[in-house]
């Protein structure tokens, strides 16, 4: 068990959560809660794998994954934005639908292992030479990990320092105000739900083409989409906090796998090494931690009184109450 390895693979695993979480942040910032992340990730993972298998091009697979998940997200957008239905229940429905789609279309993909090319892994020159940090962040990581590094500050900058970002926030905080100023509330919400879908698809593709390659049905994502939804609350709708949460989480997931390896930990006998059945409790940890993260996030939100985007979960109907 090597701390560097755990952290490095934590960054890799966390990258999946990162994309999904930030995607959900975009959607929620516009006022649309989309609980279908898990399902959209599955669709993404499946399409990425399927298209890559067919074309032998992971890049095409990635693209297909994003578009497919983006397309699926529009079902939710239509139901919640145009038909003004409850976002929670629609998000749940989207999960069932997306899981169904990916199971139907993913039939037989499991057997394709080893014939599907993966996304490239490489080390960044110079940066990977930095002691510790180089090995954790820049040594033989997937290309998606590096894209993630660039993506975090860009997402933050976009939301907080640009005109479209300002519009995004306005639509999620007070859609009526945005509407009276000619900002297309409906169009923007559709758009950001789509962005959320694209990123969930990207997260799914990152799993099936890079982090843990292959297609294993609903087990491919194994609840990471839900963890991402939880991380959004912990991150308080901020991409930088989301990145912190995602990488920490990735490391935790890896830690619980690796801790069973060595006979001693910190000089003490390792109970997990001697009794492998305790591993079941280790497997609970990522999910238990999600709950703990939620408690931390919720308490902090209560204390600092930072709220959710004010219009999150509410359909916008022009001319209704408060306009």
């Amino acid at each position: 068990m090597d701390l560097i390895i755990i952290l490095a693979s934590g960054v890799a695993t966390g990258t999946v959560l990162l994309y999904a979480t930030v995607g959900e942040i975009f959607s929620e910032r516009s006022g649309v809660l989309n609980l279908g992340v898990e399902g959209m990730m599955l669709v993404g993972a499946m399409f990425a794998y399927k298209v890559t298998a067919a074309t032998q091009s992971p890049l095409l697979g990635l693209l297909a994954a994003m578009l497919a998940a983006g397309a699926v997200s529009q079902v939710h957008a239509f139901i919640t934005i145009t038909l003004q239905a409850d976002q929670v229940i629609s998000g749940l429905a989207l999960n069932f639908l997306a899981t169904g789609i990916s199971l139907v279309l993913g039939e037989g993909l499991t057997s394709l292992r080893d014939v599907v090319p993966q996304l490239p892994k490489f080390s960044i020159p110079v940066l990977s030479e930095i002691p510790w940090l180089g090995d954790i962040f820049f040594n033989n990581q997937s290309v998606m990990v590096y894209v993630g590094f660039i993506f975090i500050p860009l997402a933050w900058y976009y939301i907080n320092r640009t005109r479209p970002g300002m519009h995004l926030r306005a639509v999620g905080e007070y859609p009526a105000a945005a509407d009276t100023l000619g900002i297309g509330v409906y169009a923007l919400r559709y758009y950001y739900v789509f962005v959320g879908g694209l990123l969930a698809g990207l997260a799914g593709a990152t799993i099936s083409l890079s982090i843990s390659p292959g297609w294993f049905g609903a087990l491919t994502t194994s609840g990471q989409g839900w963890i991402a939804v939880g991380l959004v609350i912990f991150a308080q709708w901020n991409p930088i906090r989301a990145a912190f949460g995602a990488y920490t989480f990735g490391a935790l997931r890896r830690l619980v796998l690796d801790i069973q390896g060595p006979a001693t930990v910190l000089g003490l006998a390792n109970p997990f090494f001697y009794n492998s059945n305790l591993g079941f409790f280790l497997k609970m940890l990522p999910f238990a931690f999600t709950v703990v993260f939620l408690v931390i996030g919720s308490r902090e939100a209560m204390r600092k009184r930072v709220g959710t985007p004010a219009a999150l979960g509410l359909p916008y109907i022009r001319g209704q109450r408060g306009l």
Partner: protein, 518 residues
Amino acid sequence: MAKEISGNEQLNVVSMLGVSKRFPGVIANDHVDFVLRQGEVHALLGENGAGKSTLMNVLAGLYRSDGGTIEVNGKAANFGSPREAIEAGIGMVHQHFMLVPSQSVTENVLLGLDEPRFRMNLSRYNKKIEEIAEQYGLHVDPAAKIWQLTVGEQQRVEILKMLYRGAEVLIMDEPTAVLAPSEIEELFKTLRSMTAQDKSIVFISHKLHEVMEISDRVTVLQKGKVTSSGIQTKDVTRADLARLMVGREVVFRVEKKLVEIGDTVLSVKNLKADNDKGLSAINGVSLTVSQGEIVGLAGVAGNGQNELAETLAGLREVLDGEIIVNDKDVTNNPVKKGIRQGISLIPADRTLVGTAPNLSVTDNMIMKNYDQEPIGQGWIVNSTEANSYASDLKEAYEIMVPTIETSVRLLSGGNLQKVILAREISSEPKLMVAVQPTRGLDVGAIEGVQKLILAQREAGAAILLISEELDELISLSDRIYVIYEGEIMGQVDDGDIDKIGQMMMGARLEHIEKEGVA
């Protein structure tokens, strides 16, 4: 067509002819004519529910008209969105401000514009906005977040927003409703400085004295129809306007019977409480209300009135001080205990707090006594009892609703308020706290609600009436307290509107009286 009507050398910037707007079940505007000239303040007068805001929402592109023609600067216009209206120079300041609370003044002003294209260079725009603010005397800090501003400042931001967009026509929807008298003066100054620069203003109001004071011409709406289009204000009297507006000779006058004032029911001592953001909202409030007395609480919106009402009902934590009702300490009592002790709250927000929109009239009627005999019997709610109770109240309070099974979200504002009042009054409260009980109601409904409150006073209840509507407070109350930033500034017994106005802006009664003597 527009030329026929004008007959004046002044330019018609807007002419709306025969404009109609229909909502499910209501005709809000019925062939309305409205002509706005350049450089004038044109008052759009009418009772609540007369269709003033609807007409202007059509002009501002928020609603589409169902008929009629609209011309702006001589060109036909039927705006499909507020953005198109703004591009044509028409901006509207809504009654509920359209500002994003978590964003800064500058961000709010720039919202929806094409410039800056991408990167927000806020400091540069802060300066630009300060310049415009200077020009019209609209003082506000561009870097401040909206939630930090007072209501008056927020209104200035709204006006700035429109001016920044180059609005030539500014529609102000009931702009004085949320302001203290001195702020109203300041607003009027701003409006005049705008007309001096050839901008035109539509001033929506139902207050006659304001219309007389600020407007050049008046158009009066009554039940969706124009009763008078574009008459010169100087040619009419208040009485004329009142007749045009209400459609009958006598304006409603509150008839207050003489009622013996009894024992003190409510006594609040040095009360302190926070608002939802955790900031101090009530800071040492002391007041009393006695049997058979209506005590008014005046103040600009957001000075702690809602928080005070909530602490009285047990809905908000009291941090310090005490609340005594009928000699019992009820400070931080559970809500239910307060209800049992005869404390009744008519909340400011009918749909958000006062009712459950998708539940039936019956379910809403029994909210306070579902667990009391005869409706609540042990573990069950006796639906026969509940229904007959609701039917009786429906009859007694003349609530217009097809059946008591109907969801209350389908009720009009007036009928919804009657449901709440019926529920609260039928519990025979010892203390009734009424927050803005007539807000947003049409004239008939207001009259009904006020009569019900007065009847409670005659029945011997102690009533604390919290309102931003000074006229209402003065006509209904026996005494009036004024609250400012969570503190009571003083009390008037004679409805002296000047004193109340000064106190609403933070002057203490002692100071006002001292200066008056000096």
